[in-house]
Amino acid sequence: MSEPFRRVPEGIKVDLPDSLRQWLASIANETSEGAVTMSSPAHRRLLGPIDPSQDHDDPVTELQRQFAVEGSLGVLIATANATLLSDDEAEEWIRALQLMLAATAASMAIVDEEDLRNLNEENTEIVTTLQAGISLMMEALDA
């Protein structure tokens, strides 16, 4: 398999199997829906107050964070089948993959390194796939 993300003059060339693209889009959709409804501990962690001494952020800050999360995940969902990304879109992929990784880790109750080591094979593969995507996209974008 060739490099999944590669720097070209026009931006970042994406070479991923269709099955992986669909998988990424489905996780992005799940993460986005959860972020809107705050339906899980994972999303409450992602969007908890920035000042722990307060129950809630001010409304402007809450909106900024909600837009940022939905924006990044929305870009990944919209461009999941793209073969060429602009640099800005590639940066949003990194944000989205990180959000998906954090939400996935929280849903798997990964709190520390020991939890990570004790994951079963299937969940380990999910985490390492998302981490690899982030790492490879950073390499391509910063090349």
Partner: protein
């Protein structure tokens, strides 16, 4: 104005002078390379400073990555959350 009022105002003034800190917390899944990259991007830190702070987060569980006024601290914290990093703000101890 009573002595109590004076104390109250002086205390408030002192609180206004206390900077706010952005605390970055360790998490077990974010890549070290990602954290370094985000610190450089959000705060424009040089590589050595970003790496030093990242390793402090990794080894000690947290690092104060910026301090200053509350509004800017909140903006930086939101920027870190945009990369799903665990960050909070607090008054400097």
């Amino acid at each position: 104005m009573t002595q109590g009022d004076t104390d109250l105002i002086t205390g408030t003034d002192q609180m206004l002078d206390v900077p706010w800190e952005v605390i970055l917390w360790n998490d077990p899944v974010s890549l070290i390379s990602l954290v370094v990259r985000v610190l450089r991007k959000v705060f424009s830190y040089d590589l050595a400073k970003a790496e030093r702070m990242t390793m402090q987060v990794h080894n000690e569980g947290k690092s104060v990555v910026w301090s200053g006024d509350k509004e800017q601290a909140a903006a930086y914290c939101v920027a870190l959350h945009g990369y799903a990093l665990t960050a909070t703000i607090q008054r400097a101890q």
